[in-house]
């Protein structure tokens, strides 16, 4: 039997293995291209921030109208004690909500996968929760629940749906031939779920979690603002509301900056987890 050669050489590998004169030039080119890819976005961002600073200084804009970036950073450092505590509160809410949404979303998706009838009966509830704006639900929840729980429930509601719908889709998207194969070898429902449906659904599930991470933050912030207006809560969004009342705009910006950074951080972590889990096999994570 003639050996067939696998075609798995990624461009980077070529550059590394060749090492001699023709490869060196190409490798340099690749490194240069990557450097530009990293440096250019940073440069553009720095220019934008610099422009903001310049406009504020040149026009002498008052800090309670638009604070300069330098003032936002110094406020962040000055108020770090209060803000970091608020950050922890928001992070905690978000993490618990995301965890519950993952457990709930996956659990219900697995139940949906057992029967079309169950899926059809329960899916409308999930859709109603998804399409009803969370800003409208939050005040209602604050009536029934204490503010901490209400904020958690809000974050959960918005994070839950993408995980449920993506996982449901993933569990239903198994290769029918592979399902036949499992049937042929007498696999039961449970083994089919664990060995076949779950790995097939993994990329879909991870996509859902990535969306849910950002949404959990938004849900927590919206609920905190609703609760904050009622005089409760201590999360980052509450600090924004509070600073607004006191016309402490630099602190408002500092809290806003922290929320953005939190969102970016959560997204980066989830994207990394997704990449690590899929890089060996899924098209979305393969090196190109």
């Amino acid at each position: 039997m003639s050996p067939e050669i696998p075609h798995i050489t990624a461009p980077e590998d070529e550059g590394l293995t060749i090492g001699t004169s023709p490869g060196d030039g190409r490798r340099e080119g690749i490194i240069k291209a990557r450097l530009v890819g990293v440096v250019l976005p940073i440069l553009v961002f720095a220019i934008a921030i610099g422009l903001w600073e310049l406009i504020v200084r040149v026009n002498g804009i008052e800090p309670f109208i638009l604070p300069a970036p330098s003032l936002v950073i110094s406020t962040l450092i000055k108020d770090w004690g209060t803000l970091s505590l608020s950050l922890l509160v928001t992070l905690r809410t978000m993490a618990i909500a995301l965890l519950l949404a993952t457990l709930g979303g996956v659990g219900i998706a697995v139940i949906f996968a057992q029967s079309r009838l169950i899926e059809r009966s329960l899916y409308p509830f999930a859709v109603i929760l998804q399409v009803t704006p969370i800003v409208a639900i939050a005040p209602l929840l604050l009536v029934y629940l204490d503010s901490g729980t209400a904020i958690l429930v809000c974050a959960f509601i918005v994070a839950f749906f993408p995980i449920l719908s993506n996982t449901t889709l993933g569990l239903a998207s198994t290769d029918p031939n592979l399902r036949d194969l499992f049937k042929l070898y007498g696999a039961g429902r449970w083994r089919e779920l664990v060995l076949l449906r779950a790995p097939s659904a993994l990329p879909y599930f991870l996509g859902g979690v990535r969306i849910a991470g950002g949404l959990a933050l938004i849900g927590a912030v919206v609920a905190e603002i609703a609760a904050g207006s009622a005089g409760h809560g201590s999360g980052l969004a509450y600090r924004i509301v509070e600073s607004g009342y006191r016309l402490n705009i630099p602190r408002m910006f500092a809290a806003l900056l922290l929320i953005s950074l939190t969102g970016i951080f959560i997204y980066a972590i989830l994207a990394l987890v997704s990449h690590l889990l899929l890089r060996r096999w899924h098209e979305s994570a393969l090196d190109r």
């Binding site: 039997m1 036949d180 007498g186 696999a187 899924h282």
Partner: protein, 284 residues
């Protein structure tokens, strides 16, 4: 090759050496292994895929089901595998009971590998579902991969393999249980002709080494004439067998067989039967 039986229960799986000969292996060469009696299959959408099909698969056969698209040849294969129930008629196993049917290996038109699992874990699957541990199964996996010529690709991922190699892994997976009946649904249809010729030769050699019976679905007259000891020619609407052609030449065959009269005659007979069926339909 000695064929120790595949334990079908978890308790037996702990003793993989235990030889409990599976049903079907005792069937004498040439004796009926499975017989389709008056089998019909109608799908819920009203399409009659098969109408009153009569087919006998004998132990040791290399039987090709040859016909155009939509003639129900894949459906017939799925009925034999038990993947779908018949609408009417019976499928009789030599053992008398569908539950005691011989071990079956199935190869699909696509390689149908699990992309998240290595070659080894893909080939392991049938044994895993039968309750084997990876350690017990490893010699079997290595044997199956050697049979298809991929002994060094245990750790490779499916995406790293060419189309032909993926199909070899798929065949290794079907062989890992040492089946006595191998069902193949147009396994080489998506491959280029050169790879296909190579795999045809390998398949014949494999069949002889394993001593199994093969039912092979194809729409290629040449492929069926080259590989088979018998061709069942099928026609569509409704799916039925219109001719059976025996080819008396020992397996495995080699390239020069394509120039021998037995091969040419089989091709001519199969073509005549197919054209006859098409003409008959044109006159309807």
């Amino acid at each position: 090759m000695s064929a120790s039986a595949l334990p079908s229960t978890r308790s037996a799986a702990r003793k993989p050496d235990a030889v409990s000969r599976a049903a079907g292996e005792a069937v004498q060469k040439g004796a009926p292994l499975v017989t389709l009696l008056d089998v019909s299959k109608e799908f819920p959408n009203g399409v009659t895929a098969l109408a009153r099909l009569e087919l006998c698969v004998r132990a040791g056969d290399f039987l090709s089901l040859l016909g155009p698209s939509g003639c129900g040849k894949s459906t017939a294969l799925r009925l034999i595998a038990g993947l779908e129930p018949t609408t009417a008629g019976r499928i009789e196993w030599a053992t008398g009971d569908a539950k005691l049917r011989p071990r079956i290996g199935f190869v699909f038109q696509e390689p149908t590998l699990m992309p998240w699992a290595s070659v080894e874990m893909n080939v392991f699957l049938p044994l895993r579902l039968a309750g084997w541990s990876l350690r017990d199964a490893r010699p079997r996996i290595e044997e199956a991969l050697s049979l298809v010529g991929l002994p060094d690709f245990r750790k490779a991922m499916p995406r790293e393999l060419s189309g032909g190699m993926k199909m070899r892994v798929s065949i290794a997976r079907a062989l890992v249980t040492r089946p006595s009946l191998l069902l193949m649904d147009e396994p080489f249809a998506a491959l280029d002709e050169i790879t296909r010729f190579k795999l045809n030769d390998d398949l014949m050699r494999l069949k002889q080494e394993m001593g199994c019976t093969v039912v092979f679905v194809t729409h290629s007259i040449y492929e069926s004439a080259y590989l088979s000891t018998r061709i069942a020619v099928m026609a569509a609407r409704p799916g039925r067998i219109i001719a059976e052609i025996d080819i008396d030449a020992a397996l495995p065959r080699e390239e020069h067989f394509r120039r021998e009269s037995a091969y040419l005659q089989a091709c001519a007979n199969a073509a005549d039967a197919l054209h006859g069926a098409m003409d008959a339909r044109d006159h309807l």
